[in-house]
Symmetry: C2
């Protein structure tokens, strides 16, 4: 039995599983949107928890942040205008700004407190926040996208919490249709799409909703994420044309800064296991 | 806080992390070699625990068993003679026997109780135990390999517990040298090699020891394994020649029985992330 004074535990009810990290809580607050906690762990650095769910740890956030950004930015022929919905910890923004093609990167998180706490506990994730190409907006991402000029964006990255609470509106056909409208024809949309093992229903429904919203096709990718339930995570790319191979030199200039992403893991992430192939093709 | 009456929890001390499944213990025994428990979980079927560590669950064992068997058996040009050291749950044996090239598959687990309990709680993993090509030996795998005729084997699979307790002798140069002697020149050796994130030191040391034992090269592969610490696991192949591409039709005849392995995930598993590349090349 784990002593609650010494361990943070996230119970994933739908899977009847739990994941715990040893550490002590150093901050807790209720914002207008959600409950945020920070833990100082023994072996994973700091851990941010929102509404009881692990969000980001110092030790393993690189999997998620690299895989939410570099696959789409390496694939788009010229990703100049990028929007991140959510992403308040700024780790995805940092990865996006490594790409010199990017001219504007706008992060729209509804909760400014996520960013302020990240600046305090995850300063390395915020190291590019002062980049002149970056804009940090604290606003409703759904309305922001709805009001964006048609065809004005190259890449939309939805780096949100799970589809309950404030992020619920980021997982439906209406939002995806707004995103499609805001993207140029060769634009790419990517959203984290939960665990393909224990959230198979959500994973499948997301791809269906994206296609229902007018995207021509969806392509999932898979990667490890130790602190998330099951440790095996996915993202789904929605697109209008064919998804091309990545530009071979897209990440060469900053390869030494990356921990999980390289051209080999890019290709690997798109391998679809039989269980997922059957899930996608079943009615 | 998780009630110990309703949850099994494995604490991974070196990572100060823990993983839990909800369920009730239905069996426990101390064998001459180790302590074995069986839990009936809410959402993962049955769970076997040895000396406090998760070994196999009904729901997710396919990742491990498919990735310990099909990559090497699809790569070897003609895998007729296969030995499994450990593997008492018989899940790896079942996957090995799907390959019609295999003429003899010998499983050598030191603890017969693992197999007897698997027959009871994981009968699907034992469904090929009566295959005329299969031999189940309950013996010391280290001695068995040491006494095997030189060049008498095509594939050795070490499907063991962690490098403490009864399996400790399966993680050193002397054992690897015996395996190399027992293998034909084009033979392949594979062993589970822990989490590349949280057991990086063991992962690295294993490859070094295999090469020190006379193997020409080692090649790691990576795959999800939700119930194991970090959810991201590895195996390491040791070989004398170059590792060739898999035979394209190696798993075609039983593809519908597989959940994680296919030619795409085969290739994907060999992608080496930068963090592992740096680990391997560092002194």
């Amino acid at each position: 039995m784990l002593n609650a004074d010494q361990w943070f535990t996230e119970v994933e009810k739908s899977a009847a599983s739990a994941f715990s990290l040893k550490g002590r809580r150093v901050h807790a607050e209720q914002t207008p949107f959600q409950h945020i906690e920070i833990f100082e762990t023994e072996r994973w650095g700091y851990l941010m928890v929102i509404d009881g769910c692990t969000m980001v740890s110092t030790r393993d956030n690189f999997f998620y942040h690299e895989m939410m950004s570099h696959p789409v930015l390496s694939t788009h022929p010229n990703p100049e205008r990028v929007v991140i919905i959510g992403g308040g910890d700024c780790g995805t923004l940092r990865e996006v700004l490594r790409h010199q093609d990017v001219r504007q990167a706008t992060q729209i998180d509804i909760d400014e407190r996520v960013t302020r706490l990240s600046e305090q506990y995850f300063p390395e994730l915020c190291e590019s926040n002062d980049d002149p190409r970056a804009t940090l907006a604290f606003d409703d991402g759904i309305a922001w996208i709805r009001n964006a000029p048609k065809s004005s964006l190259d890449v939309i990255i939805v780096d949100s919490t799970d589809p309950v609470g404030p992020a619920e509106g980021l997982f439906n056909v209406a939002f995806y249709a707004s995103c499609r409208e805001a993207l140029a024809d060769d634009g790419l949309f990517i959203q984290q799409s939960e665990s393909p093992l224990i959230h198979a229903d959500i994973f499948k429904a997301m791809g269906e909703a994206m296609r229902e919203a007018g995207f021509k096709a969806t392509t999932p990718l898979f990667f490890p994420q130790p602190i998330y339930p099951s440790g095996w995570w996915s993202a789904t790319i929605a697109h209008m044309g064919e998804l091309s191979a990545p530009r071979s030199d897209a990440t060469t200039s900053f390869a030494s800064a990356l921990q999980y992403y390289n051209p080999a893991t890019h290709a690997a992430a798109f391998a679809v296991p039989p269980m997922v192939r059957r899930l996608i093709s079943s009615d």
